[in-house]
C-alpha cells in the first residue's frame, strides 16, 4: 500500500504503525512511551500527527497505516500541542536545567556536583548526556514551562541491589512496567494508585527483592529518564567508547555492549541488534561483567613454587619451569581439565597440546555431565543422529511447551523469554518439577513430581498415548513393537505413588501434548543429572516421536557445544572428569593441569599441579605453578552457543596485570616442548587450522562472521527415526533413618572459571547466595530452624556448611543448594563429589542429614 507522510509518498508492506514507518524513513516524530520491544501504548501523546479526513489528532505509535493515508507530522498546530504536552510533563519533572539558556556552557563551568541526594536538574542527574527526555526537549525547543512546577518529593529507593529508583524523575511513560510484564514476565512493578497520585511501585511498596524481580535491568534500559539508574555508574562520566562482546555466563551468549572509559570497563548492556538477545540480557550480563573482570581475586603475575613458597616470576621462567616439570611424567600420569567457558580456539589447543606434546588422552571437563553429553550419547548409542542445533526463536512459535525441571528464568533467562512469548501467543505450557517455580503461573498445568521420577512420568505418558489409539501412524516407525512391549512391562500400579501425579493429571497432560502443534520439549540438568539420565532422555525422545515434538537440550555453559565439537574430533578418549578426580586421589594421576573448575584437591596425591586461571581459588595454595589467564573481555575467539550458533568475540580491554590468553600460554608451552605445529600469531591462525582439521568447523570463517553472516556449526546428517525400548531403572533415591533428607543441586551457572559470581557481586549474593541451603517451611519448623542460621549437611561421603533459607516452594523432605566448584570449600556441596559422581555423567541426588551449627 501507499501512504503519504509530509508530502513524501511511501510504499508500505504489512501491518505497521505510522511511527514505525516514519522512523524507517528517517522522518522524526517525537515519542516517549513507545518502544520497539513493546506493544503500542499511547500514553504520552507526544507522537500525535494529523491524518487527512480525521478530526482528531492521532497518536502515531498506535495508529496503523492504511492505504492512501495522508499524514502530516510537523504542522504548527501539532508543534504547539506537542510543546504543551511536553511542558505538562516537565511541570512535574525537575526542569530548570532543561530550559536554562546557559545550558550550552554549563558543562564547562560546573564542577562535580552530582553527588547530591536529590536531583533537581540535569546537572545533578546521572542521566545527564544520555537522557531521552533531554533529547526530546531539545528537539521541541522548550523555552519555558507555563504550568506551575511540582516536585513530588518521593524518597529515592536505594535498598535493592544494582539500581536506584527515583520516581521524582519518572514521567509515567510505563515502559518499565510494560517491559517487566510483557517481555520479562516478572511483573514486579506496576502502576499504583490513581489519577495525580499514580506512581510506579511494587506490592505494598516492598523492595524489589521481595516483589519477584529478576534484576534483569530491562526496566533500567528502557527508562527514558534518570528515574532508574545503575548504581555502579551513577557518578561515573559518560563512556568514551562502546565495544561489543559476547556474554560468557550462560549458554545463550547474549551480545553485550561494553561501555569503556580510559580503557576500563564501566558497565555492560544488552545490544539491541544482538541476534540472540535483541536488547535483553539478565542480571549477570547486565550488572556483573565489570566485577568479574576487575575482581580483586584476579591473578596478576605468573608464580612458581620454589622453596615451598609461591613466588612471582617472569612468564619465561614460569613456562620453562612448567615445561621442565611436565616432561618428567609419562602420558597416562598426566591429566588436563579444561572449561566449557573457554573459547573454541583455546579448547582446540588444549586437545592438541595434550595429545601431541603430553601424549595423554586424559582431558576432562564438566562437559561430561552436561545435558548435551547425555543427549548425544543416547542418540549415538541408538544410532539416531538427533539434531543438536536448534533456533531459540522457534520456541516462541511452539503451541505446546513441555518443560522439565528447569528454573528457566534463572538458568536460561533468554530461553525463558521465548517461552513467555509463546505463552502470550496462546501456547500451553506444561511444567514438571518438584518445586514450584516462579514461571509456573504461566503454565496450564504444573505436575509436581517427586524428585527423580521423570522417567516414570514420561514412560507412562507414552503408554497412555498408545493406549488411546495413537498407535496407527506410529506403528510404522522402527522399534515400535519392542518399545510398546517395554512399556507394557512397566509396573503401572505404582506410577501414581512413584511420581506423585494423579491419573487425572496424567491424562490431561497427554491430551494437552496431542492437542496442538508444534510442540517443544525443553530439558536440561534437571532431567539428565540422574544416574539413569540417558533412560530419561530416551523416554523423552520416545514421547517426542509420539507427539511430533522438537527436543531442545539446554546446557549451562556458553561454549559447551564448542568444547564438544572440538572433543569429538578425537575418537580415543582418556579418563573422564570423575575418573581424573579419582586418579588424582589415588595417585595414578601425578601431574594435573587445571584450566577449568575443579573441587578442592586437598586430598589429592599429586606431584605437580598447574593452575591456569583468572582467579585465586582454594587450589591456588596447592599449586606448583600458577599461570594468570585473561577473561573473555581481554582476549578474542569464538563461542558456540546452545543453538549451535558461532559467536565471534573480540578483545575489549587490555589484560589486567600480566594475564595472557589461554591459547597463548598453551602454544608457548608447546613450542618449548617441541618445535612443530604451534606457531600461532593470533587466534585467526588457530581457527583456520581448525576449519581444515575438524569437519564441524569447516564452514567457519572469521571474515564471514565479521561481515555479519549467521553461521551455525555443522550438525548431524544421518537422521533416523526410531523408538527406543525402555528399561525400568529400579528404585528411585532412597532416604534412610540415618540420612532422611534428599539433597539436590540447583543448576544456575553462577560462576565464571573458578570465581563464584556471588563472591564478587554482593548484589547477586542478595538475590541468590551460593551458601544458602534451601529448605521447606515445614521441615524448618520441624527442626526449629530460623532463616539465616548455620547448618551442616552430611552424607556418607562428606559434609559442608551453609545457611538456612526457607523457601515456600521446596518439597518436604528435600533440601537444595547451588553447584559451585570452588566456593570456600567449607561451603561447597562439591566436596561431596565422590558421592555425586555415581556415574560418568551424573551428579544425581544424595540422601543426607542436616544439623544445626557448623
Amino acid at each position: 500500500m501507499k501512504i503519504i507522510i509530509d508530502g513524501k509518498e511511501l510504499e508500505v508492506e504489512g501491518k505497521k504503525t505510522i511511527l514505525n514507518i516514519a522512523q524507517e524513513n528517517d522522518i522524526f516524530i517525537p515519542s516517549l512511551c513507545d518502544h520497539p520491544r513493546l506493544a503500542p501504548f499511547g500514553g504520552c501523546r507526544l507522537c500525535i500527527v494529523e491524518i487527512k479526513g480525521r478530526k482528531n489528532y492521532a497518536p502515531s505509535c498506535c495508529t496503523y497505516a492504511d492505504d492512501g493515508m495522508e499524514i502530516k507530522t510537523k504542522t504548527p498546530r501539532l508543534q504547539r500541542l506537542r510543546r504543551e504536552i511536553l511542558e505538562l510533563i516537565l511541570s512535574e519533572h525537575p526542569n530548570a536545567c532543561l530550559i536554562c539558556s546557559e545550558k550550552e556552557n554549563c558543562d564547562d563551568y560546573k564542577s562535580t556536583i552530582r553527588k547530591v541526594g536529590e536531583t533537581t536538574g540535569c546537572v545533578l542527574c546521572s542521566n545527564n548526556g544520555r537522557c531521552e527526555l533531554q533529547d526530546i526537549v531539545e528537539t521541541q525547543q522548550i523555552e519555558q514551562v507555563k504550568f506551575p512546577s511540582f516536585y513530588r518529593d518521593f524518597e529515592v529507593k536505594k535498598s535493592d541491589p544494582f539500581f536506584d529508583r527515583n520516581y521524582n524523575l519518572c514521567i509515567l511513560c510505563g515502559r518499565c512496567v510494560r517491559i517487566c510484564h510483557e517481555v520479562r514476565g516478572a511483573s514486579a512493578i506496576a502502576f499504583v494508585n490513581r489519577g495525580s497520585q499514580t506512581v510506579v511501585g511494587t506490592v505494598l511498596d516492598l523492595p524489589l527483592l521481595d516483589s519477584g524481580c529478576q534484576f534483569c535491568g530491562a526496566c533500567v534500559d528502557v527508562c527514558p529518564t534518570g528515574a532508574l539508574t545503575e548504581r555502579a555508574i551513577k557518578y561515573e562520566m559518560l563512556p568514551e567508547e562502546t565495544k561489543k562482546s559476547v556474554c560468557p555466563l550462560c549458554s545463550a551468549g547474549c551480545e553485550l555492549k561494553i561501555d569503556l572509559m580510559g580503557g576500563k570497563i564501566l558497565g555492560s548492556k544488552p545490544s539491541e541488534d544482538g541476534a540472540v538477545n535483541r536488547g535483553q540480557a539478565c542480571v549477570k550480563g547486565r550488572f556483573i561483567i565489570r566485577d568479574l573482570v576487575y575482581s580483586p581475586r584476579r591473578i596478576l603475575k605468573p608464580l612458581i613454587r620454589a622453596n615451598k613458597k609461591l613466588e612471582e616470576v617472569s612468564w619465561e621462567e614460569a613456562l620453562d619451569f612448567v615445561t621442565r616439570r611436565l616432561k618428567k611424567y609419562k602420558g597416562k600420569e598426566i591429566a588436563l581439565i579444561t572449561s566449557p567457558q573457554l573459547s573454541c580456539e583455546d579448547n582446540y589447543l588444549f586437545q592438541k597440546f595434550a595429545r601431541e606434546r603430553l601424549k595423554t588422552e586424559n582431558i576432562g571437563s564438566s562437559y561430561s555431565f552436561s545435558p548435551l553429553a547425555v543427549y548425544h550419547e543416547m542418540s549415538q548409542k541408538n544410532q539416531l543422529g538427533l539434531a543438536l542445533n536448534f533456533k531459540i526463536r522457534d520456541i516462541s512459535k511452539a503451541k505446546v511447551i513441555f518443560l522439565l525441571g528447569e528454573d528457566l528464568a534463572v538458568s536460561h533467562p533468554l530461553i525463558w523469554l521465548e517461552v513467555l512469548e509463546a505463552v502470550k501467543n496462546g501456547a500451553k505450557l506444561i511444567v514438571a518439577s518438584p518445586n514450584e517455580l516462579p514461571l509456573n503461573r504461566f503454565s496450564s498445568l504444573w505436575l509436581q513430581i517427586k524428585p527423580g521420577s521423570e522417567f516414570h512420568l514420561l514412560s507412562f505418558l507414552s503408554r497412555i498415548l498408545i493406549e488411546n489409539g495413537g498407535a496407527g501412524r506410529l506403528s510404522r516407525i522402527e522399534e515400535f513393537d519392542s518399545f510398546k512391549n517395554s512399556l507394557n512391562k512397566l509396573d503401572i500400579s505404582q506410577v501414581f505413588e512413584i511420581t506423585g501425579i494423579t491419573e487425572k493429571e496424567l491424562i490431561k497432560t497427554a491430551r494437552l501434548l496431542l492437542e496442538e502443534e508444534p510442540a517443544a520439549f525443553l530439558f536440561g540438568m534437571g532431567l539428565t543429572q540422574h544416574p539413569w539420565g540417558s533412560q530419561n532422555v530416551a523416554a523423552l525422545q520416545n514421547l517426542a516421536l509420539q507427539t511430533q515434538a522438537q527436543l531442545f537440550p539446554l546446557g549451562l555453559e556458553n561454549n559447551l557445544r564448542g568444547l564438544f565439537e572440538v572433543g569429538r574430533n578425537y575418537p580415543d578418549k582418556g579418563l573422564a572428569f570423575n575418573k581424573i578426580i579419582q586418579g588424582a586421589s589415588s595417585g595414578d594421576i601425578k601431574a594435573l593441569y587445571l584450566a577449568g573448575p575443579m573441587p578442592y584437591l586437598n586430598k589429592a596425591k599429586l606431584e605437580f599441579l598447574v593452575l591456569q586461571d583468572c582467579y585465586i581459588n582454594e587450589n591456588f595454595e596447592l599449586a606448583d605453578a600458577v599461570l594468570p589467564a585473561t577473561t573473555f573481555a581481554e582476549t578474542e575467539g569464538t563461542f558456540i552457543n546452545e543453538e549451535g550458533r558461532v559467536q565471534r568475540f573480540k578483545k575489549v580491554v587490555e589484560p589486567v596485570g600480566d594475564a595472557k590468553p589461554d591459547w597463548w600460554v598453551i602454544s608457548q608451552l608447546a613450542c618449548k616442548m617441541g618445535n612443530k605445529g604451534f606457531n600461532y600469531k593470533d587466534v585467526s591462525g588457530i581457527m583456520k587450522e581448525m576449519s581444515k582439521v575438524i569437519p564441524g568447523f569447516s564452514n567457519i570463517s572469521y571474515l564471514k562472521l565479521e561481515n555479519g553472516k549467521e553461521i551455525f556449526i555443522r550438525d548431524e546428517k544421518k537422521r533416523r527415526k526410531s523408538f527406543i525400548p525402555l528399561k525400568d531403572n529400579g528404585p528411585l533415591y532412597k532416604t534412610s533413618k540415618k540420612y532422611p533428607y534428599l539433597l539436590f543441586v540447583d543448576y544456575s551457572l553462577d560462576y565464571y572459571r573458578s570465581l563464584p559470581l556471588g563472591r564478587e557481586s554482593l548484589g547477586l549474593r542478595k538475590i541468590r547466595d551460593s551458601r544458602w541451603i534451601k529448605i521447606s517451611p515445614e521441615d524448618a519448623k520441624k527442626l526449629k530452624l530460623d532463616e539465616g542460621e548455620s547448618l551442616r549437611v552430611e552424607s556418607s561421603s562428606g559434609s559442608f556448611n551453609g545457611f538456612v533459607k526457607i523457601i515456600e516452594s521446596m518439597p518436604k523432605g528435600t533440601i537444595s543448594t547451588s553447584l559451585l566448584w570452588s566456593e570456600d570449600s567449607d561451603f561447597s556441596a562439591v566436596s561431596f563429589f565422590t558421592g555425586f559422581f555415581q556415574e560418568e555423567n551424573a551428579l544425581g541426588m544424595l540422601p543426607v542429614k542436616i544439623k544445626r551449627g557448623k
Binding site: S187, L204, G212, R441
Partner: protein, 151 residues
C-alpha cells in the same frame, strides 16, 4: 480466608470480583492475602496491588463501622467542603484515610459524587447528606455514636 479465595476460578479476570468479595467479608483487604490471591489467579502481587490501589472501594486498612466520605469535588469545594472536612477532622481527631482509635469512624474524601447541586455533600454509610453545615457535623457524629450505644 482461604475459602473465599478457593471458591474463585483460576482466572485473572476474576480479580476485581474477588477483591470485592474479600472487602465485603473483612471490611478491608488484609495484606497477607495478596500472595494467596496471586497464586490462585496466577498474577503477580504487584499487579494485584496496582489494581487494588486504583479503586477507592478497596482498602488495605481495616475500616471503622461508620464510613464518612466527604466530597471535595469542585462544586462542593467552592461551597465550603474544606470547612466541613476540617470539622470532621477536629471532632474525630483523624486525617482522611484514617480510622479512629475505637474503630468506629473512617474518614475519606472523594472528588464529586454527581450530586453537585446539593453540595457540599457528606455520605455516611451510603446515606447522602446534602447542603452540609459545619454545625451539623457534631450532630451526625452523635447519631452514629448512639447507634453503638456510646455517648
Amino acid at each position: 480466608m482461604e475459602k473465599v479465595i478457593d471458591e474463585f476460578d483460576k482466572d485473572q479476570r476474576e480479580l476485581i470480583h474477588l477483591l470485592h468479595e474479600i472487602q465485603k467479608q473483612f471490611g478491608y483487604i488484609p495484606a497477607h492475602m495478596i500472595s494467596q490471591i496471586a497464586r490462585q489467579l496466577k498474577i503477580s502481587e504487584s499487579e494485584i496491588f496496582g489494581v487494588l490501589t486504583f479503586y477507592k472501594a478497596f482498602t488495605l486498612k481495616p475500616r471503622g463501622k461508620h464510613l464518612i466520605t466527604i466530597c471535595m469535588g469542585t462544586a462542593c469545594h467552592v461551597r465550603g467542603a474544606p470547612k466541613i472536612l476540617d470539622e470532621f477532622k477536629r471532632e474525630l481527631s483523624i486525617e482522611p484515610g484514617e480510622t479512629s482509635g475505637d474503630n468506629l469512624f473512617t474518614l475519606e474524601t472523594v472528588n464529586c459524587v454527581g450530586a453537585c447541586a446539593l453540595g457540599p455533600i457528606v455520605i455516611i454509610n451510603g446515606d447522602y447528606h446534602g447542603q452540609m453545615k459545619t454545625r451539623e457535623v457534631d450532630k451526625l457524629i452523635k447519631i452514629c455514636r448512639q447507634k453503638n450505644g456510646k455517648r
